[in-house]
């Protein structure tokens, strides 16, 4: 496991490279695309464990932080959909160069899956397949979800009703942040534009969806642009996504095993 900086020196990205334990196997290199905001904090440990499992199964792995997130350069306001898409493409090339692999499979979790789908529209060389883990591809619904989660969290931590929380704050302030992270108006607009219809080009020949809920619209859209889609229903796929799960060291081991198996087949 090697943490390092890559990309432009003026605004470096933080990444961690996990070399494959055995060289020369058939498993593809794997790029892990983070979710956004508090979900990226919660997913950190899960991603590290997943990266170690994938490396043990023969895949070189790169996990990284988008600009404006995690350890990468930039404050919260530096995060944008356009920039994150560029970051995925940069990380993809970095993984190809570092590992010597010819094919890379991408895993996108939650909003990271939406970003991965957008990045795939640039048709990067060597993209072998996509695995979408509880993908977020309906931007407006995601904005609503983040707003409600933020309000609910404030109600919980201050032990006040949501009505009371709302009465003490400006609506624009509440919309402009979610669970500790800024969501400026430009970012809100960009997220709101995300929808399955935005996928025009076939993202990859093979796409796997692992989710607790149906993503029929997304699946139909992906098949409509020529991808072969397989769907795995996993009721525990979101069990990691709470502060309680984070603090309890909860790890969805069966989901991770399913991801290793699925990603290993995306070559």
């Amino acid at each position: 496991m090697k943490p390092f900086h890559f990309g432009p020196s003026a605004a470096p990205l933080y990444g961690v490279y996990h070399p494959a334990h055995q060289q020369g196997g058939r498993a593809p290199a794997v790029l892990l695309c983070n979710p956004f905001g508090v979900e990226a904090i919660r997913a950190f440990r899960i991603y590290r464990i997943l990266a170690e499992k994938l490396a043990a199964a023969g895949s070189p792995v790169l996990r990284f932080d988008y600009i404006g997130t995690g350890n990468s350069a930039g404050d919260d306001a530096a995060f944008s959909v356009t920039r994150a898409v560029e970051d995925i493409l940069l990380a993809h090339q970095e993984l190809l160069d570092t590992s010597g692999a010819s094919r890379v499979a991408w895993l996108g979790l939650r909003f990271g899956a939406g970003l991965a789908l957008l990045a795939s529209q640039q048709k990067p060389r060597g993209l072998g397949g996509l695995c979408l883990w509880d993908p977020v591809t309906e931007g407006q619904a995601y904005l609503t979800e983040m707003y409600e989660a933020h309000l609910c969290e404030l109600s919980r931590v201050f032990d006040e009703s949501e009505k009371s929380i709302l009465a003490k704050r400006q609506q624009t302030d509440l919309l402009g942040e979610t669970m500790g992270f800024a969501v400026g108006t430009d970012l809100q607009s960009d997220i709101g534009d995300l929808k399955p219809d935005a996928i025009i080009n076939r993202p990859a020949r093979r796409i796997a969806i692992i989710a607790g809920e149906s993503h029929a619209d997304l699946s139909d859209r992906l098949e409509g642009v020529g991808a072969k889609v397989t769907t795995h229903q996993d009721e525990k796929s979101q069990s990691w996504n709470s502060d309680a799960a984070l603090n309890a060291f909860s790890v969805p081991r069966k989901t991770l095993d399913l991801l290793v198996e699925t990603l290993g087949g995306l070559r």
Binding site: G70, L154, G180
Partner: protein
């Protein structure tokens, strides 16, 4: 401002990010930010990144790193308990910082368990000259208890939520965070012992900033309660305490994050 990934400690098992100030000044203390619970060195709400970069702008060199087995750090060899191993890890961070920057004063900062690890290390290592303790141990006195009970009793929504939870059969094993918060397994030392330890640090001229948030409102909800609770001790002006009643444990709201930076600026300017 420049950031550098550092690996240090026995077998280089510890990983962290060193945020270099624009202009490193030998008279400025070095700052080390410790893990909050099991959250990795980015910190809850990316708060540790924001703190490190903010402090670097005012000439502090800052390290944030992961204790053994957390975040990007490798586990330590078995044999030591969590508290003992944490102190070993932090002292290895102090060693590394002195090698890199010379024998400068060191401030340890942390939220919750990070605050606990900071003050425990300060008791064992005289290189620590300052502590920034965010929600450190708190002790209830009668005033806090009455105020909190009165506030809770006046909130009908709270009772609705509790009733709903009980009716749904939700329990801590299902991940109910309210219950987990109440069942927090952070066990403080006896009040007298904590007071004596703070006195020891005060006598050693360690400067301390203690900020309590609404998450411990059932224990402390006004700054004078702290001094009442520890009235037999004399912490003089070495110890500054405040209660941020409108702020939650992990500084979720952006306004509270900004307020924290301002508080740190003021304290660091006046006390270091």
């Amino acid at each position: 401002m420049r950031e550098e990934i550092v690996q240090f400690g026995e077998e280089n098992r510890l990983t962290g990010i060193l945020t270099h100030s624009q202009e490193s000044k030998a008279d400025k203390p070095l700052v080390i930010i410790l893990n909050a619970g099991i959250v990795h060195h980015v910190g809850p709400n990316r708060l540790h990144v924001k703190m490190a970069r903010h402090l670097a702008k005012v000439h502090f060199d800052v390290l944030r790193f992961d204790l053994s087995g957390l975040g990007e750090s490798m586990p330590a060899a078995p044999g030591k308990g969590y508290e003992e191993q944490s102190i070993v890890d932090i002292r290895e961070a102090l060693d590394m910082m002195w090698v890199r920057f010379g024998e400068r004063r060191i401030i340890l900062a942390g939220i919750c368990s990070g605050a606990d690890n900071a003050y425990r290390t300060a008791l064992e290592d005289v290189r620590v000259s300052g502590l920034i303790l965010l929600d450190p141990y708190a002790y209830q006195n009668t005033t806090a208890q009455i105020s909190d009970l009165a506030k809770r009793a006046q909130d009908p929504e709270r009772w609705k939520r509790l009733a709903g939870r009980l009716l749904s059969g939700t329990d801590a094993e299902d991940g109910d965070e309210d219950i987990m918060e109440d069942d927090n397994d952070r066990i403080p030392p006896e009040r007298e012992i904590f007071g004596q330890q703070l006195q020891t640090l005060t006598d050693r001229r360690v400067r301390m900033l203690l900020l309590y948030t609404s998450s411990v409102r059932h224990l402390i909800n006004a700054k004078n309660q702290f001094h009442q609770t520890f009235k037999e001790f004399d912490f003089s002006d070495q110890l500054e305490v405040d209660v941020l009643a409108h702020v939650d444990h992990t500084y979720t709201e952006l306004s509270s994050q900004n307020e924290l930076m301002t508080r740190l600026d003021t304290w660091l300017a006046e006390r270091t």
